[in-house]
């Protein structure tokens, strides 16, 4: 063999070895290990949360698999911030899980695109669960164009968290269900102050987080129920936004945007969205409207006495409620097994677990009204009023394009509430409504 031929062979051999090594390692890494015995259905279940929540989820699924030996559940767990991005890609790419988490706020967006399986027949034919077992308002929240697409898995309301120690120190009474915004303003001016003498206010009475609430409390829905158009620029909407602005610039009980950013930057997580919830345990805000889901976090983080009550009443007594459901994705190949999983999560075993956790109201009315939920060690001490929220109020607003609409209105609200060069309320709302309606018209 000539040396030239030997060299060529050597070069090709080196190449072949390299490619082979990559293929072998790659193949080994990508080997799918069959972990489902024959005759067993595997469901894919998309969900999100922290490592602690994952641990609880595994306990629940272990019990489900024990009681349903013919079904195995593969949990696809991601972080909260990335969940919707992954789900949307999976649905668009034709690889959606069988069951997934869905909040009431974004529910319509997915239901309108046919992502979910209608459940009313499955529920009607189910021997164990009945429609009346749940709060009608929460069943409505997951009903789109006459079809039920989700069973409530927990209900949460927006309640007012208040700092008992700070209020007592300032000589203010504790808020209760009779409070109106006049009470909040009156006592707020006593509570809002500079506590460390540096010339800057570092304790505010209230931090407004849900601007839409004020529209509904002034009798101005975001969308006209007949036409579906955005109507936040009506006179009552203008009054609502003006009231919102007055909380900051007239009554001085809520921080300005720059002050909010400063309060967050001087403590808390530094992220405007999530940092706002930290202002309560930090003691920068004495009253905070927040979802009950933060109860476990506040139990650990708050070093003062606190409790909850209703958000103050406006001209109309309207409160915010929401929750989550586990809908079945329309792409599922196992609808009946998926229904068993959804039913399990909304059924007594899981709901009892949720009741004991105290971070949400059980979706089953019977359990919600039981000592399991009501008689838990404080904080919070007051819980019974939360159940009434689900009897009286509805989830709002809900819209197929809510995410995009909230981005538009959020931008305009920011300009209206801005520290520097703010835009007036009426022209601001008019432009916001016009932009939203242009978006809605472009979809029609």
């Amino acid at each position: 063999m000539t040396s030239d031929l030997r060299e060529r062979l050597s070069l090709w051999a080196q190449w072949a070895l390299l490619v082979l090594a990559i293929l072998v390692i790659g193949y080994w890494l990508t080997l799918s290990r069959p972990d489902v015995p024959p005759g067993v259905i595997q469901l894919r279940f998309g969900n999100f949360g922290t490592p602690e929540q994952l641990a609880q989820e595994k306990v629940i699924l272990a019990e489900f698999e024990r009681t349903h030996p013919h079904i195995k559940v593969k949990l696809e767990w991601v972080s909260a911030g990335n969940y919707l991005l992954k789900l949307k890609t999976q649905i668009a790419g034709g690889n959606a899980p069988d069951v997934t988490w869905m909040g009431s706020g974004v529910f319509y967006e997915f239901a309108a695109k046919g992502a979910f399986l209608p459940l009313e027949t499955l529920l009607a034919n189910d021997p164990d669960l009945k429609r009346d077992d749940f709060y009608p308002t929460m069943i409505d929240a997951y009903t789109y164009k006459g079809h039920l697409y989700g069973l409530p898995k927990d209900n949460t309301g927006t309640v007012l968290f208040y700092n008992i120690d700070a209020l007592e120190k300032a000589g203010a009474p504790l808020p209760d269900e009779t409070w109106t915004w006049d009470d909040m303003i009156r006592w707020g001016q006593q509570v809002t102050r500079d506590t460390n003498g540096d010339g800057r206010i570092d304790q505010f009475m209230y931090l407004p987080l849900w601007d839409y609430l004020h529209f509904y409390q002034h009798g101005n829905p975001v969308f006209d129920p007949q036409t579906g158009r955005c109507v936040i620029d009506q006179p009552s909407g203008v009054a609502a936004m003006q009231f919102r602005r007055d909380l900051v610039y007239k009554h001085h009980i809520a921080p300005r945007p720059l002050e909010t950013a400063t309060l967050i930057a001087s403590g808390g997580s530094g992220d405007a969205g999530m940092g706002a919830f930290d202002l309560f345990p930090l003691g920068r805000v004495v009253c905070l409207p927040c979802n009950m889901a933060v109860v476990p976090y506040y139990r650990k983080a708050c070093k003062f006495r606190w409790d909850i009550t209703k958000v103050p009443r406006g001209p109309l007594d309207v409160q915010l409620i929401d929750g989550a459901a586990y809908p079945i994705l329309a792409q599922t190949k196992h609808p009946h097994e998926a229904w068993e999983l959804v039913k399990f999560y909304s059924g007594p075993w899981v709901q009892t677990l949720r009741a004991k956790a105290g971070d949400s109201v059980p979706s089953l009315r019977a359990l919600a009204n039981s000592p399991l939920f009501l008689d838990q060690p404080p904080p919070p001490a007051h819980r019974a009023f939360v159940l009434n929220l689900f009897d009286r109020y509805h989830v709002f607003p809900q819209h197929e394009r809510l995410g995009a609409i909230e981005q538009i209105t959020g931008r305009w609200f920011e300009r209206i509430l801005s520290d520097e060069n703010p835009i007036d309320v009426e022209p601001g709302l008019r432009q916001a409504a016009a932009e939203v309606n242009r978006l809605l018209e472009s979809e029609d």
Partner: protein, 286 residues
């Protein structure tokens, strides 16, 4: 008159200038180091501490070093580490070799459409990943590659536009005489690439290795979209799990982030000379 054996002392002006430059550099470095210092301080803070603002840097009491162990044990980070290492090393290896080969073709082969193809390849860098996200996902779904490492490794075997560009520019600085001499000695085209040019391309290839390693090590979008089973997760997905809907375990997140960051830091400091050399390559004229 200066003696050949003595070194003249710097003049007063030169000394003052040097002091000024060093002061400015130290100040700038401190500003750049501040976020990292803040990160370390949060990583060492107590578990239930909520007050994590910049003022924390003035208070170094109550440090809790167990956060590092707690964070690492909160999830199967050992598994995540192995997964990330495998995906990164295979991806980097594939990208470097494939890009070097493609760059050789663009730099040395004379054929109609060479420049047009090169520009077409470069233009793919203009496409934001959000545009191609769903079609690519659908492609991988059809291939049944979802929930495997294949989507994270196989595309690298076709090269990456930026790496190809960088290596092409470098190859064009190498004299063609080397190729001609190799050809005269009977070396094939592939042999010239493998034996002659590849060894000379080490600085540029190291730059590609650094960029590619850091990009793949920290990649979140790819693993998020293509991996469903927790046992296949990478470190970036593990880190994101510390962020809840209403609260974040910041001390554990920062502690885990510091550990995850270490390999990239070690790589960069080891190869920084080649990194800076490699960055300059792109500026050379053809």
């Amino acid at each position: 008159m200066a003696d050949a054996m003595t070194v003249p002392l710097p003049g007063r002006r030169a000394l003052a200038s040097r002091v000024l430059v060093w002061t400015a550099l130290i100040l700038l470095a401190s500003i750049f180091m501040l976020p990292f210092l803040w990160m370390i301080r949060i990583a060492l803070s107590e578990a239930d501490r909520v007050d994590l603002g910049l003022r924390l840097l003035l208070d170094w009491s109550g440090l809790d070093i167990r956060n590092f162990a707690r964070a690492w044990q909160a999830q199967p980070f050992n598994r995540f580490f192995l997964n990330t290492l495998a995906v990164t090393l295979l991806g980097v290896g594939g990208e470097v070799l494939a890009s070097a080969l493609v760059a050789y073709g663009f730099a040395r082969m004379r054929f109609p459409g060479n420049r047009a193809l090169f520009l077409l390849m470069l233009s793919t860098m203009m496409l934001p990943s959000q545009v191609t996200m769903i079609p690519v996902f659908m492609l991988f779904r059809k291939l049944e590659w979802i929930d495997t490492f294949k989507p994270l490794i196989v595309p690298s075997l076709f090269g990456a536009p930026f790496s190809i560009f960088l290596l092409r520019q470098f190859i064009m600085t190498l004299p063609r005489d080397l190729d001609e001499a190799a050809e005269l000695d009977g070396c094939s085209v592939l042999g010239t690439w493998w034996r002659i040019l590849l060894p000379l391309m080490k600085p540029a290839m190291l730059t590609v290795v650094i960029f590619s390693f850091i990009g793949r090590w920290n990649d979140l979008l790819g693993p998020l979209l293509y991996l469903n089973s927790q046992e296949k997760f990478t470190l970036s997905l593990g880190l994101m799990a510390f962020r809840g809907l209403y609260s974040t375990a910041w001390n554990q997140l920062m502690a885990a982030s510091i550990v995850v960051m270490l390999p990239c830091l070690v790589l960069f400091f080891t190869a920084q000379r080649y990194f800076i050399q490699g960055l300059l390559i792109g500026g050379l004229k053809e």
